[in-house]
Amino acid sequence: MSFGYANGRKIFNNLNFSMEKGDRIGLIGPNGAGKTTLLHLIMGLLKPDSGEIEIFGKVRKEDRDFTEVRQRIGLLFQDSDDQLFCPTVEEDIAFGPLNLGKTHEDARIIVRETCEKLGLNGYEKKITNRLSEGEKRLVALATVVAMHPECYLLDEPATGLDEKTTQRLLNYLRENTHTYIIITHDLGFLKNVAEKMYVLSDSFIKEL
């Protein structure tokens, strides 16, 4: 697959990458290498200039093809403020489930469960833009978790988290998830969560 932003340089040139169910992948690379871009391509938020993207055994081209992908894969954005656009934590977490057709009752239960899992009890009624960066990070993760995805794409999930909260995130990932790609610049963190490591640089991706 190849990709470049409009009026920008080529970021990927005939890039090849695949992952299987159960892969716990760490992705590293210098700033501007295209890590975030790769995740957005997987979610269908950007479209490749050439080449193909195949997910869950089907080639995905149009926006329509990605609807299913977006339900089964959860993306944590690099900047929490992009992800948290609702007034309160509760509404933000419920936004996804409600869009998936859950009733208000179910959504409320999901909100409660998700908050419990991530140690966010008591945050439901808080106003999102008054949270600290670390709290925003966790709530953003909660909005992804609430959709019960099979696979997670996490764009620098641990930035802004203190040691204890990072540990909580690690525990959560170990116990509740099987398949993910984590982007990070923190190698210590990566050693704890990733079984495979990839480096992305100069439009190449290679396994370490």
Binding site: R70, G74, L75, F77, F85, C86, F95, N129
Partner: protein
């Protein structure tokens, strides 16, 4: 940015249902805005002051707010007394200040403050987000309400971006003067802010797509009318009708 300074507190007004607040305040302030003469405005200013007394808002904060609001009114005090014909009060050069002019500007001043104080007492004592929620229930077009939600949500984010950009200007020894260089620098700062806001809005939209957005925003409702709300609604309606009648006859 600390914006909602009056919304903190736990008075009767802070606990009222925002839907009732809108339904009662809109007729009240419009009746005041349409008033002429002095009787109605004096009475409504007194009522507004009684309301604000119940909110427990500090007088200092209230006054500092009123000073800003009355800047325009001050301008009127300079011009209007000389712009009506009638009984002369005093004269400067060939400008004649009249009793009618003074009464007119006094009436405006009372009306302005009555409306503003009521707005602070009733709407200022609720969180902005819960007021916006109330609008959905009052059948305001939902697009407008969502626009408001997103707009308010991202002010603080963009304000931080602005502060960061401003800082990079300051550390590079930028000093604002009346010069083309200054205006150009500000223009680039604003341009950058616009670009950032555009990029961010694209990312927000992507985040919405990732969470299954299909063109509708689900709203979780959590308002419950209480007896106090109904009483307040009834009382305000009564007051509004009363001041309307009094100002008409006086």
């Amino acid at each position: 940015m600390h914006l909602e300074e009056f919304a903190e507190g736990n008075s009767f007004f802070h606990r009222l249902d925002p839907r009732v607040k809108f339904i009662t305040i809109i007729p009240y302030i419009f009746v005041i805005a349409f008033m002429k003469g002095l009787n109605g405005p004096v009475l409504s200013l007194i009522i507004s002051l009684v309301m604000i007394a119940f909110t427990g808002i500090s007088i200092k904060k209230l006054l500092s707010r009123l000073v800003v609001v009355n800047a325009f009114v001050l301008l009127l005090w300079i011009f209007l007394p000389f712009s009506y014909s009638g009984t002369e009060v005093f004269q400067i050069g060939h400008l004649k200040a009249t009793r009618e002019g003074f009464l007119q500007v006094l009436s405006i001043t009372l009306k302005t403050n009555a409306i503003v104080i009521a707005t602070i007492a009733i709407l200022g004592t609720s969180e902005v987000f819960s007021l916006a929620h109330a609008l959905v229930h009052l059948k305001v077009p939902d697009k407008l309400v969502y626009l408001f939600f997103f707009f308010y949500r991202y002010i603080s984010v963009l304000h931080e971006e602005y502060i960061r950009l401003k800082r990079t200007m300051t550390i590079r020894a930028f000093k604002a003067r009346t010069s083309i260089h200054t205006y150009k620098t500000y223009a680039y700062l604003i341009g950058m802010l616009i670009v950032r806001s555009y990029d961010r809005s694209q990312r927000i939209y992507k985040a919405m797509l990732c969470r299954g957005f299909k063109g509708k925003f689900p709203i979780i409702s959590h308002f419950h009318l209480t007896i106090a709300d109904l009483c307040f609604g009834f009382l305000m309606t009564l007051i509004t009708v009363l001041i309307a009648i009094i100002s008409k006859n006086g």
